[in-house]
């Protein structure tokens, strides 16, 4: 058993888990083409959820702040993107891929800017008064999520809103008899780029070093002369902006969004952060990909279990690793 463990560790440890899950799924599904489609869908979904969850994980890791309002940034991002894309309908509908991309870029920039500004406001007004008090954090941030949902209702109305997509992101391409949706590949690439950027920031810059150290031991970083509280505002803003970006991508993926989006995603995002292990973006990525894959496989194999699949996944993983798959060293 020990040797098996060592071998697994050598081969990549917990990073093997998504591989193992997808291999088991291949056996159960039996049809390679469906399996490829589902796997790509799962990875793409995982990447989008990763964007939404990464900020939450760092925010908790750095300041022990439980923010149940985090997914409000996701839904605002989605609705802002929908509005910007509708407003730039001309660019979006044109034959020029450049104009199409400009419209999408504009949606991202708008959502990102909103995330930064709203993140700053939220941290200063809602979070700061309740540092070090988990019960109040839960109550006040859940309240904030409800307020955010009502604001979306007031601004955009209660009817589902459709999100236009440019033609170059529509449809699928075929490899043999396997159909792969273009939007999913796009989500995968974009999510991958953001992950790399985050990874490099955390591992190759001084700010990143401070964040990693602060996640481990906030007090000691302060005793070395650094104001973690000021750094935290920045991390909170960046995390909110990333969540808003995740919302933009999610909006384009679903193409129909409702104000309930935030509350729905909140559960998923928390599950991902808990599965992954708090405070590490490697863990968050792993957790997000697991959730994405399992949701798609289970949705295909046993549709009735689809809703429960996240919860079951979380329970299984926590029984095996109570601190999550890849928690930050504490």
């Amino acid at each position: 058993m020990d040797q098996v463990n060592k071998l697994i560790e050598r081969l990549g440890g917990v990073y093997l888990l998504p591989v193992a899950v997808s291999l088991i799924a291949l056996v159960l599904i039996g049809v390679p083409s469906s399996w490829v489609t589902l796997t790509v869908a799962g990875l793409a979904m995982g990447m989008m959820i990763f964007l939404m969850a990464s900020g939450l994980s760092l925010v908790f890791g750095l300041m022990d702040v439980l923010n149940f309002g985090h997914s409000a940034f996701v839904s605002f991002g989605a609705f802002i993107a929908a509005s910007v894309l509708a407003w730039l309908g001309g660019w979006l509908g044109s034959d020029s891929i450049i104009l199409n991309s400009m419209a999408i870029l504009a949606a991202f920039i708008a959502a990102f800017q909103f995330g930064l500004a709203a993140g700053w406001f939220f941290e200063t007004v809602v979070i700061k008064p309740v540092y070090h008090d988990h019960l109040r954090q839960i109550l006040i941030t859940m309240g904030a999520l409800i307020v955010a949902e009502q604001m979306i209702l007031a601004i955009w109305g209660g009817a589902p809103m459709s999100v236009p997509r440019p033609s170059f992101l529509e449809g699928a391409f075929l490899i043999g008899d396997v159909a792969i949706e273009i939007y999913r590949v796009y989500a995968l690439i974009l999510g991958g780029l953001v992950y790399i950027a985050l990874y490099l920031t955390l591992n190759r810059t001084r700010i990143g070093l401070l964040i990693r150290a602060g996640v481990e031991n906030r007090e000691m970083v302060e005793a070395l002369g650094f104001r973690i509280d000021r750094l935290f505002v920045g991390v909170f803003m960046a995390g909110s902006a990333l969540a808003a970006m995740g919302g933009v991508m999610w909006a384009g993926y679903e193409t129909l969004i409702t104000p309930a989006l935030g509350a729905e995603m909140m559960i998923v995002v928390f599950i991902v952060v808990i599965i992954g292990g708090l405070g590490s973006i490697e863990g968050t990525l792993l957790g997000a990909i697991m959730v994405g894959l399992v949701a798609n496989y289970v949705g295909f194999l046993a549709p009735k279990l689809a809703l429960a699949s996240n919860m079951i996944l979380m329970m299984v993983i926590l029984l095996w690793r109570p601190n999550g798959l890849k928690p930050a060293v504490k």
Binding site: R206, L209, L210, R212, A213, E216, N217, E219, M220, V221, E222, A223, L224, G225, F226, R227, I228, A328, V329
Partner: protein, 234 residues
Amino acid sequence: MTLLSLNSMKTNIGQYSVLHDISINVPEGGVFVLLGRNGAGKTTTLRSIMGLWKPSPGSVTFRGQDITNLHTADIARLGIAFVPENMGIFGGLTIEENLILATKTGQFDQTRLDRVWELFPAMKTFWTKQAWSLSGGQKQMLAVSRAIIEQRDLILIDEPTKGLAPSIIDAMADAFREISETTTILLVEQNFQFAKSLGRDMAVIDDGRIAHAGTMADFVADKELQESLLSLSA
């Protein structure tokens, strides 16, 4: 000249009153030793200096400046380093990263780095290893190295010999002697042999109060006083 003084400091942790009345003057230069039984309030005293607990009433002055209500980070920036009881090293970071974090500019001063490597060769050997993989003694060396990688005026060290083998304790004592030539050390210690070989001035804390203060030489000579202040059974 007095470097640090604690003036009738009283510290509560939550609803518990831990320090009742702490006054000491730490002169510049050398090693000042704080002794006391388990639970006497030594760690709380160091944390109160560092701004990690806020004394009230009472005050902390450093080089004549009142630092009682400054943020911990600003206290550190005045030139005070802290080596906490649990060492506070960053296990997920390498030795190099642990040390570079403690520099002001993010760059090493080669002379200081060489000095650290000379005092604690293990720091060089394990330079790129994650700190959690170090032994207990090496972790303590890392915690001390981090405190001296920049020029500081005062280092607060909380029980650095706890759980260390005698040979490592000797190496630690040599290192502290060298460090104290350029930096004042406020050392909390239970290991009296170790403390007595280093300290010039000293104080004993008992139940949140200063029970005795004076020179180490006088204290070492007075067996009765030692017995009454440090023995387990009083």
